[in-house]
Amino acid sequence: MSRKPRPLVLVLQYIFLGLMTLFALYPIWFVILASGRVGSRLYTLNLLGMFIPTEWTFENYQVMLSGQPYPFLTWMRNSLFVAGFTTIACLLIATSAAFAFSRFRFYGREFGLILLLAIQAFPGVLSLVPVAQLLTAFKLYASHWGLILAYTIGNLVFTTWLMKGYFDTIPIEIEEAAMIDGCGPIQSFLLVGLPMAKPALAVTALLAFMGGWGEYVFASVLIPAPDVRRTLMVGMYSLANTQSIPWGYFAAGAVMTIIPVILIYTYFQKYLVGGLTLGGVKG
């Protein structure tokens, strides 16, 4: 539909685009403004300060990075650690399962695929108590490894379906050729299947990483205090739930947390959209 509309309609479309841009950008812009403001208040008394930087200081950033009174960098390291290992574990486990579901024909395959989807209908919040008890029994409660385990398995269903969807689109003939040349199933997976699934691997890794990075509920329950063991989201939430909220510090922390993610998403935009429509979402 590339017919050029009437001028009035075109103007309306630009107005709509402008409003949506404002809507999409303003919260982020607001945090950036607030992070450079002196004092603990998010708002300024002059209205102009809500929209353009009327004052700017790096003090909030310095405090957050200094580790006193909030161990921000430790939180960040914890989150990186948890999200990183979650990503690796997810890729290892889910990719091989997805490859098997896509390539091999075996008894219980359809059942397994549907089971995967159906059990995901059980709300995660409600499985927290038994998961916590199980982790306690295995001495993994209050440990980052326990959290990694919970995240990995929580991500498995989604990642397995995503990867399976991608493997399904790769023609099997290439692997068959490899097998005729003497590859076993494991070799054909490692040497032929995996290299061709690179785009899907990238998307899966990104989503698994972001899942671990931004998750809050499991982290808040499975890693109770002390402060230094917390992940970033739990730490930031605790920051915003103190008596007098240090908004300036919070905003500075939020900027340092969000901006890298936005840059990564912008960079991967094409793959993200393509990968999601290829995998579990598309019919």
Binding site: Y14, Q133, I153, K164, V261, L272
Partner: protein, 405 residues
């Protein structure tokens, strides 16, 4: 594939899917079974501990397994409820007594005109020339619904239901939230995608890049929800702007309806980029000759939209819509509500707060009131509901097509 012998094949396949299977069993299937069992006991803050002499308890509680046997804490052990379904009973409350059923029937009757309108439309579609457009049929259906609501006094019925069961209020409110928020997200996504799909718009790449920002930020929903919460505070941004124009501020999040509206708005912010990208992808896969043919036939923009674009979007967008509706941005919404209102504003002691959606309610039951057994029963009912919804969504979207090829 190349044939290989049975045993080796089984071992290879096990090696590939074994870890997944093990993980799913331990951290997905086991919690489900555990919740089912707990829902038949009286485990709560007064009876928090397992009684390992009971056979079933000793099987299901990790603390009772011989290798992990830990000292039982203080406090009473929990026992199986007498009668067995006591938790389910107390959860559903007086929903299924005479008054409650009458109110439920009244509520269900409201959907009749809409269903009939849908059927009428289907029948009219089979005719060569429609006497009335589908739009007017829907309007008629809606008008009859409103009339019916007035005749049946549905407001009164709602009050009866709200008084009779927590469960009903929470689920009803969540469904209401889903019915508003999901279409809203997709309508905004659709309009945006339609606008940005036209190649006459300058700076399309720029706008598309902008729209990914809330999507990226939505992965850290806790932080962004806290920022949004600030906008709605009594001393927040929105009130500040209102005051600058001489208006009077409101405590937005202290009013139940405004709080729910605020959450819907924030959820729109989080979700519209995803909807936009999904729809844009689908739009670009519609072949251009469809529109060229329609242009030759003299179809207007609206005719093209209704008769070409929307029907062709349906197969690829419908699954995404259903998944959003039952997923974390819809029925299972938790994080945004938790950070914005924590389920409040309170509506009195012992009554769910005004924005207490299903997951928030369950979380509070477990972590604030330690009502494990009640939450377990709640989980089981919700699970059955979501399970059916998932199976239905698979039917709609034929996600399992690959599984049956």
């Amino acid at each position: 594939m190349v044939s290989w012998s049975g045993r080796r094949k089984a071992l290879t396949i096990l090696a590939f899917i074994g870890p997944t299977l093990l993980g799913i069993l331990a951290l997905n299937i086991y919690p489900i079974i555990y919740n089912v069992y707990i829902s038949f006991t009286n485990r709560n803050q007064y009876h928090p501990n397992p009684d390992c002499t009971v056979f079933l308890t000793s099987v299901i509680e990790p603390g009772c397994w011989p290798m992990f046997r830990s000292n039982a804490g203080m406090g009473q052990p929990y026992v199986i409820q007498e009668p067995l379904f006591a938790n389910y009973d107390s959860l559903i409350g007086k929903l299924f007594t005479g008054e409650g059923v009458l109110a439920l029937v009244k509520l269900a009757l409201l959907f009749a005109p809409l269903i009939i309108a849908g059927q009428v439309n289907k029948r009219l579609d089979r005719q060569l020339t429609r006497p009335v457009s589908s739009f007017w049929v829907w309007i008629g259906g809606l008008a009859i619904t409103v009339l019916l609501a007035w005749i049946l006094n549905v407001g009164g019925a709602m009050k009866t239901l709200e008084a009779s069961s927590d469960f009903f209020i929470v689920v009803f409110r969540t469904l209401l939230f889903v019915v508003i928020t999901v279409p809203l997200n997709y309508i905004f996504g659709l309009i945006l995608a339609l606008v940005l799909n036209g190649d006459y718009i300058k700076g399309r790449t720029f706008f598309r890049a902008i729209m990914i920002i809330p999507w990226a930020a939505s992965t850290m929903f806790i932080i962004m929800s806290l920022i949004w919460q600030f906008f709605f505070r009594e001393q927040g941004t929105i009130n500040q702007i209102l005051r600058a124009f001489g208006g009077e501020g409101l405590a937005w999040l202290a009013n139940g309806n405004y709080a729910l509206a605020a959450i819907i708005l924030v959820n729109l912010w989080f979700s519209f980029p995803f909807c936009f990208n999904i729809i844009l992808g689908a739009l670009q896969s519609i072949p251009a000759d469809q529109y060229e043919a329609a242009d030759v036939d003299g179809a207007t923009y609206w005719q093209q939209l209704v008769n070409i674009t929307l029907p062709l979007l349906r197969p690829s967008v419908m699954p995404a819509i259903v998944l959003s509706a039952i997923g974390g941005g819809g029925f299972q919404m938790f994080g945004t509500v938790w950070a914005m209102t924590g389920g409040g504003p309170s509506q009195g002691a012992g009554v769910p707060g005004a924005t207490e959606l299903v997951m928030v309610y369950a979380y509070k039951q477990v972590f604030q009131y330690n009502a494990y057994a009640k939450a377990g029963a709640f989980a089981v009912i919700i699970f059955i509901f979501l399970f059916i919804a998932t199976l239905y969504s698979m039917r709609i979207s034929r996600i399992t097509q690959g599984a049956y090829e």
